[in-house]
Amino acid sequence: MRDVAVVGVHMLKFGRYPDKDVVQLASETTIAALKDAGCSINDIELVASGNLYQSNAMIGQRVMKEIGATGIPVINVANACATGSTAFREAYYSVASGAYDTALAVGSEQMGKMGLLGAGGGGDRAYSTEGIMGTGLMPGVFGQAGVEHMRKYGTTQEQIAKIAVKNHEHGVLNPNAQYRKETPLEDVLNARVIAWPNTLYMCCPTGDGASAAVLMSAEKAKKYTSKPVWVAASILTSDPYQERNPTMFDINTVTRNAAKQAYDTAGIGPEDLDMVELHDCFATAELLHYENLGLCADGEAGKLIDDKETYNGGKIPVNVSGGLLSKGHPLGATGVANITEIVWHLREEAGDRQVKGAKTGLAHVIGLGSACTINVLKR
């Protein structure tokens, strides 16, 4: 495999864009990422487009028609919440393999106010099991995952709530975040319960957004940038057999397997990371991933947040962007956006929320069902 650099990135502030369609959102961010890279669509040899809810709508090709239909290969990717990061990985391998010198990954989603994920479903409503035979709604599923940690280690709801406090505090400093409002601990704990132990502020919002990244071979990158950010590992795993899965989704093993491969590939350990953007779709999820990614020992995640070690300025800053809880989670855009965030920090361009001296960052995404991506970036 060849070395691959991220040369240009962009993300459109996550939020609600009722007056635009998703192709416009994806096109805007793609043009901006190309400008950031100092090149044009004519320099791109392959496009991977991630979009989940319109995965059959050829979003990638429609973006090309909008910004320059050059006839290159375009791949439309869907992989649950890991859609954008899987598109990034497609772009990465296209260049790393030597098949192409430049590739672009774009992730986009327009969710509007769609309400609870998983609450839809076609067919005969009489056969819907929700609330009849347990829960498959995301807040309930991730509630159960957090409760498993409570059972194993005695973790408390208050400890998990502290993660929401942190991420909202971080989000205040991010101009691209959907919500920029602090939520003190009392507010988080007193907010209405969505699915215990997760209250409203412990659940990420729905929203619209897009993000793009331009990747190049080392040789090509030299011509375009003096600040390349290198992809040290780009890993994708699916969930292996586990006794309770899929009755109970297993978000842990799939992440642990990806983390091991990522650290091996990059030749580093978790102690070498300067920052992590991980998949905090719910506060309970971030808690679990502290251990899954090896940021602390098993059973120590509650202590890690108690000690504020994952704040910006702590031992290992996690989700300084505000995370999904504050920055937002337009599904297909998320995986590219957290890579974009890390690239900005490694280029010292992250403004007020800059992680000082960041040299190595890890971006983690999990798509339930399950897919896990981990991208390790180095400057």
Binding site: A119, R125, A126, Y127, G131, M133, G136, V147, R192, R244
Partner: protein, 146 residues
């Protein structure tokens, strides 16, 4: 001329791994699934192959019992329109070695508590809806055992 007979109403399970005997409710409904003859892994419902080891030929049908314990739970407050909330959505580990998603009754959903872990539960079934064709739809639920 043959006389047309009215379509007979059926009693259907809400999930395929719940089996409703012909004599239901006199005869109890039960969970069923497949067990792999190569690695012993158990699964809910029908399978083409073993999801653990990939075995394709040595799978046999098994009937699961109706008792187990609460592994983990959530209490769902915000849900699909029309559903009564809050409800306890749990993962039940059946004594026979498979896990089931289930609503659990006999607990106060307003007071979730870690003392619920490991609580013994027993399955019961009831008609929860009628489908578009007017058939009864039967679901399995769990109740805490005293």
């Amino acid at each position: 001329m043959a006389q047309e007979t009215a379509t007979e109403k059926k009693t259907n399970p809400i999930v395929k791994f719940l089996r409703i005997p012909d004599k239901y409710p006199d005869e109890a409904a039960y969970f069923w699934g497949m067990q792999c003859g190569a690695c012993d892994a158990k699964f809910l419902g029908a399978r083409l192959a073993c999801g653990k080891c990939g075995e394709t030929d040595k799978l046999s049908e098994v009937k699961f019992g109706d008792e187990g314990e609460i592994y983990v739970f959530s209490v769902v407050h915000q849900t699909v329109p029309g559903l009564e909330a809050p409800y306890v959505g749990a993962i039940i580990d059946l004594d026979d070695g498979v896990s089931i998603r289930a609503n659990v009754y006999g607990l106060d959903p307003e007071k979730p508590d870690t003392s619920w872990f490991g609580k013994r539960v027993k399955m019961f079934t009831e008609v929860t809806a009628q489908d578009r064709d007017g058939n009864d739809v039967v679901a399995a639920k769990f109740r805490v055992q005293e």
